[in-house]
């Protein structure tokens, strides 16, 4: 079947999505299956395919309130919440302020966190945060993560400030509107759909961060990623598999509904133009 025929004729009965299903099953097998397998017991001596002592003991231990992993989950959630809110609000304000710049320096600053390794940044930032009394504190970790999260969300907001937005702003001001009116009638309608995306993006960044929290946190701020690395150092692959699945839970909670949503949509041929979701 040619490319054109597939693309070209709306309503034509489509082939079953066999190859897609094969790819989907492969991804699930490659990623989730080994983690679920290893987390389902203790020990994994060669050449066993399953843990030496199967059982749910590791999961019951991990979800026990006394367990470090349980506490780490709450620390990670708290950090993610604070970083996402402050990062999104800051990003919005930063993007507004830099929108008018033709100077490339602010844009470079905004893109810098996208490419710099958080581990290297954390090691290099430690001195100044220690001098400010923020090393080893949750607030220090939040500040360091904010240095990444705010530019991350600012870049997302940046493309909203188009000529159309400028024209709308001019119109509001010409009609006597204040800054509040601009925000109410121009800015908010433009950003309200993007804000959840930014919140999620920055929250995920914080949730998955290891470099900044391990260096700036000084071992006192224990998140899920810190626990995962500690378990890897212990050589406990089974416990590490549990921590890995817990770490993946929020991204999966986002990806699975999105994936289900895509699967349930009518079988569009790509010939129909749609909003990017």
């Amino acid at each position: 079947m040619s490319v054109v025929t597939e693309l070209h004729i709306p309503g034509k009965r489509q082939k079953p999505d066999t190859s897609g299903i094969v790819i989907l099953l492969t991804v699930v097998m490659l990623i989730l299956a080994p983690l679920l397998l290893l987390s389902g017991g203790t020990g994994w001596t060669w050449p066993a395919l399953v843990p030496d002592r199967p059982g749910g003991m590791l999961w019951s231990a991990a979800l026990s309130p006394d367990n470090e992993l349980f506490g780490a989950m709450f620390t990670s959630l708290l950090l993610a919440g604070v970083t996402s809110i402050t990062g999104t609000v800051s990003g919005l304000l930063i993007s507004r302020a830099t929108a008018a710049f033709s100077n490339p320096v602010p844009r470079m600053l905004l893109l810098f966190p996208w490419i710099v390794s958080p581990v290297v940044a954390g090691i290099s930032m430690y001195d100044q945060l220690a001098r400010a009394g923020l090393a080893g504190q949750m607030s220090g970790v939040v500040l360091a993560q904010l240095a990444f999260a705010a530019p991350l969300s600012a870049v997302v907001f940046q493309d909203l400030w188009s000529n159309r937005t400028r024209a709308m702003t001019r119109l509001v001001r010409d009609l006597g509107g204040s800054t509040t009116a601009v925000w109410r009638h121009v800015v908010w309608p433009a950003v309200r759909r993007i804000i959840p995306v930014c919140l999620l993006q920055t929250a995920l960044f914080s949730w998955l961060d290891y470099g900044l929290v391990s260096t700036i946190g000084g071992g006192r701020v224990e998140t899920v990623t810190v626990r995962l690395f500690a378990l890897l150092r212990e050589g406990g692959m089974n416990q590490a598999a549990v921590a890995a699945l817990i770490l993946m839970t929020p991204p999966l909670l986002l990806a699975v509904p999105l994936a289900i949503l895509r699967l349930q949509l009518p079988d569009h041929v790509a010939g129909v133009s749609r909003e990017i979701s």
Partner: protein
């Protein structure tokens, strides 16, 4: 000058600079200025006041937290610390014990950064250290003390034992408190290795006859193994004692690197890769990739098998050329926020009860630093009644082949030399 895009904006009297840019520039100028003039802050004095009564230290510590930095590469040690030790500290002293996983050199780097940043109050109250870590922390005056004489239980420590009173040839001088003693052992898989090599020549022959089945790690344990080999190449081991003899070091280290290079093609992965740490080496033994592992903890084979980290056929032994015996210690950083509580924790950890529990092979198997002759008859009986090891030699047997740790500088140089001469040099 008015903004080109909005004629209704207020005029700004700095024509080349927008408000945003102005704020940025001022902030940067302030930052640059502050970089040059970092004020000196008073540090905590290193000395710990002996005039504070122990009872006062106990009462002041109630309801506080102690942050312990420790090597966290052993699941059973971590479990004991997090469960048993933490709950007994909570119960007896109202102290909350928390943990940070840091290796020795990371700890030195962290404390050095703190001192450079004039950080009066740091993150860590207690550090698990020995050897080159202690050496470097003393070099940069990062430890508080002396304090061991202030601990009530310190009188029970066997200070006459040179393995305890000296840390890698340095007198501890009260700046760290002994916590446990260990001796290195090699661990082999009994189902694949009928007779483990006892001499250096036998080891060489075994490695050549079984290519890819032997290796050592790049971390503390592996480097300790290399140290024991270094001592074999020396005709005068005292050259590595208090003062390092440079010519003997050059001769023996060259012999060591040559030995490794000669055997390198027969090592695991042809010596191109070495396990990062002992946990990874245990994993290789468990997964059947190699037939040997090693450990600085002579008593850990039993509990590692129980945890599924080592195969059931794992056995520990000490070769005839001997292995290094040493002590590990607890120290208090100079910027520790809670020195009193740290001292209480140390005192608790060197108590007969804690030492006894730690010595049990099913928990840790770590040797005690206490002089059993100084204990009551009841405690002596308890210590002597500890379950024996099933898969490792007795402590008496081990001690016959115990080598003294060389100078701390040797460990530093071996780490550097291994990276330079082996890892970073082409085969």
């Amino acid at each position: 000058m008015q903004h080109p895009h909005n004629t209704h904006e207020p005029v700004i009297f700095l024509p080349a600079v927008s408000p945003c840019g102005l704020v940025l520039r001022v902030a940067i100028l302030l930052m640059l200025h502050s970089l040059n003039g970092c004020e000196e802050t008073d540090r905590q004095p290193a000395a710990i006041s002996p005039s504070v009564k122990w009872a006062d230290r106990v009462s002041q510590s109630r309801g506080t937290t102690v942050q312990l930095a420790m090597w966290d590469g052993d699941a059973s040690i971590n479990q004991w610390m997090r469960e048993s030790v933490r709950s007994s500290l909570r119960e007896h002293y109202g102290i909350e014990l928390k943990f940070s996983g840091l290796r020795g050199h990371q700890l030195v780097s962290r404390l050095m950064s703190d001192l450079e940043a004039n950080r009066v109050t740091g993150d860590l109250d207690l550090v698990w250290i020995n050897g080159e870590t202690f050496y470097q922390l003393r070099k940069i005056n990062a430890l508080a003390g002396p304090f061991t004489e202030l601990l009530p239980n310190a009188r029970l420590i066997d200070w006459q034992d040179p393995f305890i009173s000296q840390d890698f040839q340095q007198p501890v001088d009260g700046f760290e408190c002994p916590w446990g003693t260990v001796q290195m052992t090699l661990i082999y898989n009994e189902s694949t290795v009928a007779i483990p090599p006892r001499t250096l020549k036998e080891l060489e022959a075994w490695i050549c006859q079984h290519p890819g089945r032997f290796t050592f790690d790049c971390s503390f344990t592996g480097m300790t193994f290399l140290k024991s080999l270094l001592l074999q190449f020396s005709e005068a081991p005292e050259a590595f004692a208090t003062t390092l003899n440079e010519s003997e070091w050059d001769r023996c280290s060259n012999a060591l690197w040559s030995w490794i290079r000669k055997l390198r093609p027969h090592l695991w992965r042809e010596g191109r890769v070495f396990p990062d740490d002992v946990a990874q080496l245990h994993h290789l033994l468990n997964s059947g990739e190699v037939d040997f592992s090693m450990s600085n903890n002579d008593g850990e084979v039993d509990n590692k098998i129980r945890q599924g980290i080592l195969p059931p056929a794992a056995r520990a032994y000490v070769p005839d050329w001997g292995t290094i015996r040493n002590t590990h210690y607890l120290g208090i950083p100079v910027n520790a926020p809670n020195r009193n509580a740290a001292m209480l924790v140390i005192n608790h950890l060197i108590s007969p009860a804690a030492q006894l529990e730690k010595m049990n092979p099913s928990i840790w198997g770590d040797g005690t630093v206490l002089d059993l002759d100084l204990l009551s008859a009841e405690w002596q009986q308890k210590f002597r009644g500890i379950p024996g090891r099933e898969r490792a030699p007795s402590r008496t047997e081990l001690r016959k082949h115990a080598l003294m740790e060389p100078n701390a500088e040797v460990m530093i140089r071996i780490h550097e030399g291994f990276r330079r001469e082996i890892l970073e040099s082409p085969q």
